[in-house]
Point group: D3
């Protein structure tokens, strides 16, 4: 199968790293393509950034489908453009939130998300409510590191571990979900760190979860429902 | 005060009618300005249309604030771009959903929204959940008339009355909210029609409700919270 | 329009202050009348006080409507007698809770109410549940000052600021609602105080919000639904 | 123990029947006293009636406690004055709703309440929400018979059976709660009637449930919490 | 009436104490029988223990009914086997959770459960959600004492009082429910201890509550609904 | 990886078919083992059957882990023994409900489950509440065919299609989940049938979903949290 990753940012700063990371998660038979968007922002850290990225994401998803993609991962934890994209293509599309959080629900009683900045908390809490998952997902925490500084190595793992420990201690979380798809390659290290200090607490990487999710949907032969995602009616549009 | 209406469509088909309608709702001292957007779609009837209109709406809201607007009404029931707009300006901004539905909650036990097409139902149900109002807002109904055909006069009132009667009979609704800001000038006629046939059921016009809401916010001296709507961080953006 | 304020207390201690305060909120064309009740208590700070005030409130609302009022504000945050009053008159009636809390919902993600005494917490939490708003309204806080001591000037603002800061810091609140209609004339000062110390957090005055709400309902041409508020059947009554 | 029934109506039309009925439910050692109220209405079928009855109910409960009652049953399904009464006396007090509905929750998955008139539906649905039981209690149904006509014998059982059958068939109910304390002496007949026609569906009589509840509370040595029901502060009151 | 207590453990360590305790709670006319199970575990402190005890509990309940029991109390707070038991017998069956927690709901706004070990928290939180009582039951607390060490006398009351005080102070609880049926004979002491230090907070003993509940169900003439608890279909079974 | 399927029934009637079906779903590198249980029932169609199967399921899961399984699928839609099993082994364990329903949540707004018999409805509705998914999962429907008659070929697809169509028409469902792991090999046919008659509605097979889920968990390097699933304490147990 052919899996397209839509990077909803206007620079190539993450392209290679994402390609490598996704390449490491996919099954042998899966071909990976990474597309960044032409219009939008350098990173998504607000409702404003997300709205600006919308048309570019939809362009990229539409082109990916036209080019034969079997599934699309919009690589951002806020699921930007994902509902809209499902209206216009006939293949599975997910962002970072749904696969990671739904995966976490079968791993423990309460899910604790740790994201980048306070700016995105209302957006993410809004997703929790929109997806009707308030009964299982606790208050969301932040490491207070901007997306463009996430290549912080140990400092990021330290900050995540501090928040994860606090969430577990406060009984807010039994499972940790990394709340930004830019937190690449740290889930295993964080999981190990936590297990070294206390009971085992699984850590879900949103990129890995999204890849598993899309491969699973393709293998199961399912794609989004057309009674939820109706095709947009023809009309004048200026993009 | 100066109130700007952002019409999130790319044509001037509605501009004059909206200006007239809004002009009829405002208080004596309120000056009205109507701006349509430069990029987007001819009408908003899907998540896709809404996403395409996002950057244009934010441009228009930002310009309105720069031009001295005291409050902005994004004239679409799906509240497109409203959360993002609150991040970038220091004045009240509302769409059609919040003022109309919140107003309805003090008028009866259950609110019944009637909108245009099935395409927007998941988007509107998503707003009900996002705003955590599922305990009071019933299933949303449609007249199955596209936005661009809403100048249907009696046919529209007939279709609305049929759905409103059904919703009341099924105990889904005690108050009716018109679920599209394009349903201009029919709320009073519908309310009268329903009252002629049975017990009084109030009908809330989303344009009227939004105008009252914004004038009220300005008079109360309040505007959106900066702990929910943090200003976007500076970064590269291509719109 | 003619707006009647029903003061649900048996003394005239608040009458002049309320008349002045409401007079400052209304639109130019609105005539204000203040009526206190004949039977009830000196202040409402318990379910017991609220129940004792019930018949007096209903008398006053009925008389106001008979005397040509266009809308009635029952000036108490617990909304005493409000549902019952809607059954017996054909004009908009609100208390303090509904307009203030519903207004707050469009200003931020979470609403924090600050009221007078712990005695009224179960009553107010009961309203939050009755109105199905638990998803947006946090735990309610108190300043621990009785209603009759609220003319405390700076001490009241100090106590409110302390609770508001704590609620914001604990991420319980993005918007503050003053939870007693006796907290007159302090909303603006509190909002300013908070803004001087941190991000802007709106403060909603329940009296101001109620006035806006009633004027809006009259201008929108709506009043409570007769499928929720059915007229009481004729029968023997001894008041 | 001494159990006082407060009949929240101003006539003696029900007094003897209630005394007989309650007498049949109590344990050997329980002494029953029935008090009607001096101020209020002939029956409670609206929020208005309930508010008018409030002071009279509180007078009666206070007097009962002063006269040595060990527990008080306010014989009305809407629980009028019950929360307020718990603030002023140190003994268990219940109305009709809480004991019957809570009892029903251990008898089946969903509870179906059948009450008298549509007028009381918003009040009862309001209680379901106030007590946070919406997840288990279905839509409430009516027989459309006023309280004062409930001595309808077979006609009442017929009407109840019709609504109960419909509720069960629609999967709204697995347990039936009679939603008016004036529906005396029909629960067993209704339960038998339903069992003769289909699977066994329990029918909970609110008077019987309240008596069991109060005797149980006394035997368990518990009474309402003083952190929920704080004693009203001293102040001027005119009743 | 004849009331059977099923002790879901494989030793007789508790039999005499439970017989004495239950004997002290029942009405004069009630005959008590205590049966322990033949297969299972020495105490129930995990989902694993609960699952192992299932067949033994069902054997015991079935035998009790065959021997003429009028009601059965499965003496464990996790309600193990209770739903299944209702499918196979025609008499009331309860565990410890339902009667105690439902009783508590009419005593105060929020219920605080205090149980033995963290191991059972997810199971008990799962019951709160399964019974749809999340709106009233706070976070559950533990004394961190295993069931087999509960005969700790003062140490148990000390530990319970510490947790109860903390729950009340944090506004998590207005009523305390002892969350293990092995906490025998301490409810009254705990209630007294709390009342000596602050406002009255009722403490509900699950054994006492269950006995009252079952006697009440028998006197009310009700038993579990056959539309919720359908009789298992005949088939091969190896126990 | 080695994946063990625990068939929670006491006959080999399904063993070969399940082995074949699971074999068709797994990835090339996955080795499949099917174990049936020694004690339990011929099929699971009630809480009673589920409870009887508990110890046998736990035996089988424990043995599978001891024999080197990397993940276990308890092949029953009611998730019997799954929570308990997670307490005793250090590998991923799922039943049929969690993977299928969680998968469905990213495919459409509302999930409609169709199961075998009315007997299991309270158990499945109980799971929906326990997992806190009531906001997305509609009322569950039945085909009214016992598990042992599910090899009905076309008759089963006909019955499923009838219920699926009704659920979609009533706006209860946008995605269909087959609510019994014995409904083998019909998901694709049902999905095709529905798509031939109306808009595309995905159909999720619980066996397929479970296999994808377990392979994904293993590849992600996660397993159940030890703060939710604590290891049972040592004690006497008689199985």
């Amino acid at each position: 199968m052919k899996l397209t990753v839509v990077l909803p940012v206007i620079t190539d700063a993450f392209t290679e790293e994402v390609r490598r990371e996704v390449g490491a998660w996919v099954s042998p038979g899966t071909e990976v393509e990474v597309r960044r968007i032409a219009r939008g922002t350098a990173s998504i850290e607000s409702e404003y950034d997300e709205a600006l990225a919308g048309p570019g994401i939809l362009d990229a998803v539409g082109e990916a489908a036209a080019d034969g993609a079997d599934a699309v991962f919009v690589s951002c934890f806020g699921d930007p453009g994902v509902q809209a994209a499902r209206e216009i293509v006939d293949i599975p599309v997910v962002g970072g939130f749904e696969p990671a959080v739904l995966t976490s629900l079968a791993l423990g009683e309460r899910t604790g998300v740790i994201t980048v900045l306070p700016n995105v908390l209302p957006m993410l809490h809004g997703l929790v409510r929109r997806y009707a998952l308030t009964g299982r997902v606790g208050p969301i925490r932040v490491v207070d590191i901007p997306v463009l500084d996430l290549d912080a190595g140990d400092r990021l793992v330290d900050a995540l571990a501090e928040q994860a420990r606090a969430a577990v201690a406060a009984r807010e979380a039994d499972v940790i979900v990394l709340g930004c798809t830019g937190m690449l390659g740290v889930a295993a290290a964080l999981q190990e760190r936590l297990a070294a200090e206390g009971p085992f607490v699984p850590v879900v990487d949103p990129t890995g979860a999204a890849i598993m999710w899309l491969e699973s949907q393709v293998r199961l032969g399912v794609r989004p429902s057309r009674t939820t995602y109706l095709p947009p009616r023809p009309k004048d549009r200026i993009a």
